[in-house]
């Protein structure tokens, strides 16, 4: 958090004395975001989580997969042993809960970011094509979207994942992208249809700009805002869905460390060792919360109507 503030502080200092230049929607939103405490908190949390995901060994030297049942079976947490193996106690396999909390971030962050990127590209492209061309292209894409939209995400993901005998992070990403893209298609399509009627698009056409140029240079930058908002908020949802799938035993599997798996194994010892459930569950909730808060802040910044 400190380095974030340091980075932003001189930037605001240097722009303020200058006369206000007209800003684009993007830089206006960025200008607005930097002043929001909710954005700074959630961004700091997310930076921390990404650091956990990239280099977990920086935060703990304990092997999260090494368990000692004889010494550590459900040992109680020792809250004064900061950053040590027994800080948050040990789970039912005698493994350090603190180490598993840190290492579990990778699966969640990778699933969240990759699924969001996947659905945004796939769904955004489909929505753009449907909205721009209209007519029968739109009819076909919209009906296919409707067909997938009728399948509940969790249910469809269970069916798809059941087909994999060994499931990795990538199978979960595949399943969620395959079923989740429809939401982005609908948002993008609606947004493109509105933007398409603008004068500057007509002007670009009149000047002889090609279809790809109009789509990516003129329409996309003006139609992307609602998609970014929905995508940021959905990111937290995808992380929760991954944990739920892993919790049900149809998501990630054991060598991969996932908070969902840990929540599942902790439920069996819930009465004797509530801390084994509390820490992975708390970590998961904080992660989801951070992404949803970020999405909220981005929406407020991009949609000046709500200010």
């Amino acid at each position: 958090m400190p380095d974030l503030i340091e980075k932003t502080a001189p930037a605001t200092g240097s722009t303020e004395p200058k006369p206000e230049k007209p800003r684009s929607l993007g830089s206006d939103a960025w200008h607005d975001l930097r002043k929001r405490p909710i954005f700074i908190i959630s961004a700091a949390l997310i930076v921390l989580l990404i650091a956990f995901a990239i280099a977990p060994s920086l935060f703990t030297s304990v092997d999260p997969r090494a368990g000692d049942l004889r010494l550590h079976y459900l040992s109680k947490p020792n809250y004064l042993h900061f950053f040590q193996a027994d800080w948050f106690g040990y789970d039912g396999q005698g493994r350090s809960i603190y180490a598993r909390m840190i290492y579990g971030a990778r699966a969640s962050v990778v699933v969240g970011i990759c699924v969001t990127a996947g659905v945004t590209v796939l769904g955004g492209l489909a929505g753009m094509i449907a909205g721009y061309y209209g007519g029968w292209v739109d009819a076909v894409i919209s009906r296919v979207t409707d067909m997938f939209f009728g399948i509940p995400l969790l249910l469809g993901a269970l069916v798809v994942l059941n087909a994999f005998t060994t499931r990795t992070v990538w199978s979960v990403v595949f399943a969620l992208v395959a079923l989740g893209w429809t939401q982005m298609t609908r948002v993008m399509r609606g947004s493109v249809i509105t933007v398409k009627q603008s004068d500057y698009v007509t002007a670009a056409k009149a000047l002889g700009a090609g279809t790809t140029r109009i789509m990516f240079k003129h329409i996309l930058p003006n139609a992307i805002a609602p998609v970014i908002v929905v995508a940021t908020i959905a990111l937290g949802g995808y992380i929760a869905t991954e944990a739920t799938l892993s919790f049900l035993g149809i998501g990630l599997q054991d060598p991969t460390i996932s908070w969902g798996i840990d929540i599942n194994s902790a439920q069996k010892v819930l009465r004797t060792a509530p801390f084994a459930l509390f820490f992975p569950a708390g970590m998961l909730s904080v992660t989801v919360l951070a992404f949803i808060m970020l999405g909220d802040a981005v929406r407020d910044a991009l949609d000046p109507k709500l200010r």
């Binding site: 009906r143 296919v144 409707d146 067909m147 997938f148 009728g150 399948i151 509940p152 969790l154 249910l155 469809g156 269970l158 069916v159 798809v160 059941n162 087909a163 005998t165 937290g236 929760a240 944990a243 739920t244 919790f247 049900l248 149809i250 969902g260 929540i263 599942n264 439920q267 819930l270 009465r271 509530p274 459930l277 569950a281 998961l284 909730s285 904080v286 989801v288 919360l289 949803i292 808060m293 909220d296 709500l306």
Partner: protein
């Protein structure tokens, strides 16, 4: 109106067929042979296996299986589970339970969500509004399994108000807690949607007119403000009913409710293609019916929307 409903019903046919097709191929193209799995770890006797597959209609090509399935479906035949039960019986057992659970959750999120959203929207920027925003944000970020365990632990194990799991799945009183867990995520969305919509409409011209002509406050809020603010909420609630029924897998598992989620979870684990697609057919029908009702409600809420 009648023509609009007819046209919408016609449009639903390809969507329905498409969804059923997608789910059929998703469940049937899975690797692994569910029929051979009936023999457990032992290798199946080839003759018995062939006879079994023939009886289940699994010995023809996947295309032929698809045509047979769709043909049967239109005659109202959902097929059989691998153990020989009629799928329609399995559905008939689980569906009433989940309908009760989902409706309870639905009423809970509708009444409480709209209530909180209305109060927060009217008091925008005040303490109640801020508390609502924070609490709903927390509710959205706590994943359903965690929320389920928290509720189970607090209300059943610590306070002993209820039994930790549901003993009789048809008992409405026992379904209350699972319904609250199931509806709480949507409750947060409903509250936030209502709040935003109310806060936007409170400043509109028709509100000023209504107040200026001296209408009582109840009427201003009830007939003018709420009615005009409900469209985004109704849209959300429409898609949510189907999601509540299909998404109850976790909640039903935690509280041992013998509903659709429970049955589906077992069917998916056992690779029971016919059962899974049977349930999905029902869920898609619920979803389509709900979205038709939403479209009709638009016209009720906003008389400017007319379906000639």
């Amino acid at each position: 109106m009648g023509r609009f409903v007819a046209r919408r019903l016609l449009q639903m046919i390809p969507v329905f067929l498409g969804t059923v097709t997608i789910i059929f191929f998703m469940t049937r193209m899975l690797p692994g042979d569910p029929a051979a799995a009936m023999w457990g770890d032992k290798a199946a006797d080839p003759a018995q296996l062939a006879a079994f597959k023939h009886r289940m209609g699994l010995d023809v090509s996947i295309g032929q299986q698809y045509l047979n399935y769709m043909g049967d479906l239109f005659r109202g035949n959902f097929g059989e589970t691998l153990a020989g039960r009629k799928v329609i019986d399995v559905i008939g057992e689980a569906l009433p339970v989940t309908v009760r659970l989902a409706l309870l959750a639905f009423v809970f999120e509708l009444v409480v969500g709209v209530g909180i959203g209305l109060l927060a929207g009217l008091r925008r920027g005040k303490a109640f509004d801020k508390v609502t925003l924070v609490l709903t944000l927390l509710l959205i970020s706590i994943p359903v399994p965690v929320l389920g365990f928290i509720f189970q632990n607090v209300f059943a194990i610590q306070l002993k108000w209820i039994t930790p799991t549901v003993q009789d799945s048809m008992n409405l009183g026992q379904l209350m807690l699972p319904a609250i867990v199931l509806g709480s995520l949507s409750l947060a969305y409903v509250a936030r949607l209502t709040r935003t919509s109310i806060a936007e409409n409170v400043k509109s011209d028709y509100m000023r007119t209504a107040i200026a002509k001296g209408l009582p406050r109840r009427k201003v809020i009830g007939t003018h403000l709420l009615r005009n603010s409900m469209i985004p909420v109704v849209t959300f609630l429409g898609t949510d009913l189907g999601a509540l029924m299909g998404g109850a897998i976790v909640t039903e598992g935690i509280f041992n409710v013998k509903g659709v989620g429970n049955a589906l979870y077992h069917a998916i684990n056992l690779n029971e293609g016919a059962t899974v697609s049977g349930f999905v057919v029902v869920l898609v029908l619920v979803y389509l019916a709900a979205s038709l009702i939403v479209d009709l409600l638009y016209a009720v809420l906003d008389p400017r929307i007319r379906y000639a």
